[in-house]
Amino acid sequence: EIALPSYVKDSGKLPIATTIYAPFSYIDESGKQVGLSVELAQAAAKVLGVELTIDQVPFTSLIPSLSADRIKIAWLNASVTEERLKQADFVAWMEDGTIVSTLPENKDKYAKRTALCGGTVAVQSGTAADFSADQLNKECKTAGLQEFKKDIYPSQQDTVQAVITGRADAYLDDSTSAGYYSQVSKGKLVLTGEVFHKKPIGHIIKKGDAETASMLADAIQKLIDDGTYKTILDNYGMSSSAIAKPIVYTNVSQLKD
């Protein structure tokens, strides 16, 4: 039996907050919130035997809302990084890498990712790709190549638009959602090369909220064990990003190994 924090036990509800980030969480034609994250959350709620409630919270107010106890769980696919661990704890439930996305005619040109060095690359601010771009720039430097210019856009559509209008050579994207975007762009964009810079991604919780952390870890473990996890990831074509065991990150040192 999974131990529930009092706010879940007392209300009989699992309150989560999500942001719009297809295909994890987005609004469908009928205005309903759907996506991989949402399906997983529904499964988790069922495992915990409570009702699921979803708040849509834009990124900017996520962290303040956690600090203010307005929300308890940011049910996300946020990259776990050193600097972020100072502000919050994470429950990682997937592994994500970065992939290059570009126009079809440039598919071969950028198959090797260091071909981007010296060019212009678009990323969405705060995504895994944002961090990955910095790492890639370092690789350029070590390879004795010129660094590329990183253009940071506030949303995924804007990075896509930048590539389509030719203002950026390519954009770096989380491997998990890249497939989805190249699919909805109806062939305007293709993925090239392979996934690199793999790192854990997961939910954000308030620093020190061990109760919530263990509840989430236990619930996800249960979903992994009973196969629901795999079914959902398969549905979205992301089984390659699956992990065997959720990890609660509270400390920078956990990232080192």
């Binding site: 719009i20 834009p58 900017t60 107010s61 303040p64 203010a68 307005r70 995924q156 559509q157």
Partner: protein, 314 residues
């Protein structure tokens, strides 16, 4: 000095019958023609351009999500503008008071709320519990009368209304202050001499006259606010623009959906502009009557634009 006698009138009249050749303004006609041609070209480009996906635009115009967003936008704008005007009025009066005890806090209010980005205020109010965990009424003698968690009170909608009303009030205070200052001092004195109380004087004499100066910039402010309300999406209240963005985030139909939002904004702004014109006319109804010296400035306009005003032959 001797005054020359005038010739017979009919002679004078006859010798002065000339045709008048009005001044030609070739450049003005040329400019108008160029503007017209450019507009036509643009229209043609816009209508026939496949990138704008007009069929998609049409299919979303009455989409329920869009309409709900529209409703949120309009409703929030009205509510916020109401509160902002009331608060702005109070602050403006405080500003105009010669008592430092009142004018200093008012100046501080304007400084803070005009100077802080609306986004920041929204987040701070929404997460007020960061600073105050509970809202408690404590009275000496009675102890704690009631206490509620801040988060219960500060729902997203409350936070949006509070934050944006205060923010907008900073701007409205400036506008109202300017309007009140424009009312002639004689009006105030005349009303005082009739025994009117300050509140009555303000309501019946000063404000109606200040309105003429207040309304035009308030129109600007309201339209600004209409668009500023899109910030509420930050705290998960979906307005018109945000709804459009939420849709194109999924479907990548960026341009058509922005056109849908534009369409509705134009509709609302048009209605508001008509309302503004109506209000402006209402508050200058006394000018509508016989005016021996009509619209000083439309004359200047006519001179500046060198309009032909010839109405007969000299």
């Amino acid at each position: 000095m001797n005054v020359l006698p005038l010739k017979d009138d009919s002679v004078a009249a006859k010798r002065a019958q000339f045709t008048v050749v009005p001044l030609r303004h070739p450049w003005r006609w040329a400019a108008a023609a160029i503007v017209a041609i450019l507009l036509l070209l643009l229209l043609q480009a816009v209508v026939s351009n496949p990138n704008l996906q007009w069929p998609v635009v049409a299919s979303y115009i009455l989409n329920p999500i869009i309409l709900r967003g529209l409703w949120v936008t309009v409703g929030l704008t009205l509510v916020i503008m109401f509160f902002a005007s009331v608060i702005g009025m109070i602050v403006a009066l405080m500003m105009l008071s010669p008592s430092k005890m009142l004018s200093l806090p008012a100046a501080g209010f304007i400084w803070w709320f005009r100077g802080t980005p609306a986004l920041v205020q929204l987040i701070l109010w929404y997460n007020l519990s960061l600073i105050f965990k509970d809202i408690t009424l404590w009275l000496p003698g009675l102890g704690t009368v009631f206490s509620v968690p801040t988060n219960t009170v500060m729902t997203p909608l409350v936070a949006a209304v509070v934050a944006l009303s205060l923010h907008e009030a900073g701007y409205m205070a400036e506008i109202i202050r300017n309007g009140l200052k424009s009312v002639n001092r004689g009006q105030t004195e005349a009303a005082l001499c009739l025994g009117m109380k300050p509140s009555l004087l303000l309501r019946r004499i000063v404000i109606p006259q200040a309105m003429r100066v207040i309304i035009p910039p308030t129109g600007n402010e309201t339209i600004n606010l209409l668009k500023t309300t899109s910030l509420v999406s930050i705290i998960a209240v979906g307005d018109l623009l945000y709804s459009a963005q939420a849709i194109y985030a999924r479907t990548f139909e960026t341009i058509p959906l922005l056109l849908v939002a534009t369409f509705w904004y134009l509709v609302v702004v048009s209605i508001m502009t008509v309302g503004q014109g109506y209000l402006e006319r209402h508050y200058s109804r006394d000018e509508a009557g016989h005016d021996p010296a009509p619209g000083g400035f439309s004359r200047l306009g006519s001179i500046l634009m060198m309009r032909e005003k010839w109405r007969g032959a000299q």
